[in-house]
Subunit: 209 residues, 2 copies
C-alpha cells in the first residue's frame, strides 16, 4: 500500500496500528520515509472502554511519534458492556482523553469524518466553531441503501454526501491539510485490486469532492 500510494502520486498515508505491527514499526517508518509519504495520522487510539486502555494509548502515542504522524486518531469507544448509560459513556471519553493528553505532548483536535457528520443540520456551524482545531478531514460517501452499518461506506460520488459543500466549509474554517480517503467496504472495495482502488480514489477525489 505504501508503494502503491507513492506510485499513484498520493503523498500521504494514515496507517492502522495493526498493519504497522504486522510490518514492524521500524520497517514501517523506514518504508514510509523512503517513499516520501507524509503520515497524516495514525489510526486508532482511544477505546476507553477496554481494560488496558491506558497502556494501549501510551503505546499508540509512542508509535505515532515514531512515525512522525500529524495526529493520533481516537475512536473513543461506545457503551460499556451491559450498560445503557450514554451520559457516563461520554464522560468516560472526556476523562480518557484528559488522562492521555499530557503524554501526547500535542493539543486535542477534531477529525471531521464526513461519514459521521454529513447529515447534521448544524454541521456548517460546528465546523466553523472547530476552526483551527480541525486536524484531519476524512472522506468517503454514504450509500443508499446502506447494507451494513459499519463496513458499507461508499466511494466518493457513489452516495448522497454533498462533498464539495462540506469541503468548502472545512477549508473556509482554515483547514489546509490532507484529505484522507477512508472507505470501509467489505462488500465492494476491499474485494477489488488495491491498485484499481487507488486509481479510482484519485479520479473521484478530483471529480467529486
Amino acid at each position: 500500500m505504501i508503494e502503491g500510494c507513492a506510485r499513484h502520486g498520493i503523498r500521504g498515508i494514515s496507517p492502522w496500528r495493526d498493519q504497522v505491527a504486522q510490518m514492524g514499526l521500524k520497517e514501517a517508518v523506514k518504508s514510509i520515509n523512503s517513499h516520501g509519504l507524509t503520515v497524516t495520522g495514525l489510526c486508532r487510539g482511544g477505546f476507553f472502554t477496554a481494560k488496558n486502555w491506558r497502556d494501549d494509548n501510551r503505546r499508540a502515542i509512542e508509535e505515532a511519534h515514531a512515525l512522525g504522524a500529524q495526529c493520533l486518531v481516537l475512536v473513543v469507544g461506545g457503551l460499556a458492556e451491559g450498560s445503557k448509560d450514554l451520559i457516563s459513556s461520554r464522560e468516560r471519553a472526556r476523562e480518557g482523553i484528559a488522562t492521555i493528553l499530557p503524554e501526547a505532548r500535542k493539543a486535542v483536535g477534531v477529525a471531521v469524518d464526513v461519514y459521521h457528520v454529513w447529515w447534521d443540520p448544524k454541521l456548517e456551524q460546528q465546523i466553523r466553531r472547530a476552526g483551527k482545531r480541525i486536524l484531519a478531514y476524512h472522506i468517503c460517501d454514504w450509500l443508499v441503501p446502506t447494507r451494513d452499518l459499519l463496513n458499507d461506506r461508499g466511494m466518493m460520488g457513489d452516495g448522497v454526501i454533498d462533498l464539495p459543500r462540506i469541503r468548502g466549509w472545512v477549508e473556509g474554517a482554515g483547514y489546509s491539510g490532507f484529505h484522507e480517503v477512508e472507505i470501509f467496504s467489505e462488500l465492494d472495495w476491499w474485494q477489488r485490486d488495491p491498485d484499481e482502488v487507488l486509481r479510482v480514489c484519485k479520479e473521484r477525489y478530483e471529480r467529486c469532492t
Copy 2:
C-alpha cells in the same frame, strides 16, 4: 390485530394506511370502535418528495378524521431522487407541513420515537422544549449489532436504549398519552406468531420501559 389488541388488554392502536385500505376504511372504523380501542395515531402521511403528496396527505387527513385518530404521523421524506441538498430537503418538509396544516384542523406536534432520538446528547433538553407539543411516544429498542438499517428494530429490553430514563423525560414534559410499540423487524418479530408478539410486548412494556 384489532381483535388481538383487545384480547391482550391493549387499549389503543395506531394503524397503517395500507392495512386500513386493505380492510376498507368503514370496516376498520367499525371494528376498532366495536373493540373499544383508542386510535392513538394514523401512520403515515408526509412523504413530501412524492409527486402526489398534496392529494395523498389530503386523503390521509380524511382517513385520520374518520378513524378518530389522535394524530396523523408524518414521515416527511428524505432527499429528492438524485439530490444531495439536505438544506432544501428540510425546507421542503417545512413547506409541506405548512401547506397541509390548514386542512388538518389540528396543531403540529412531535412524535418522540426512541429509535430515532435515543443517542442524542440533547434529548432531555429537546423533550423539555417540546413539552405539551408531544403528541405520541413510540418505543422499541436499538439492537447491537443492527443487521438492517430499516427493519431490525428490537423488542424493548433487547437493546441498548435506556427506556425508563427517556420515559421519565417524556412524562416529565407533561405527556400522559399512550406508549406505542413500533417494531419493524423483518428478521425476527414479523416472523413470529402475532399473539406471541403481543404477549411479549405487554410483558416487556411492564418490565423494561
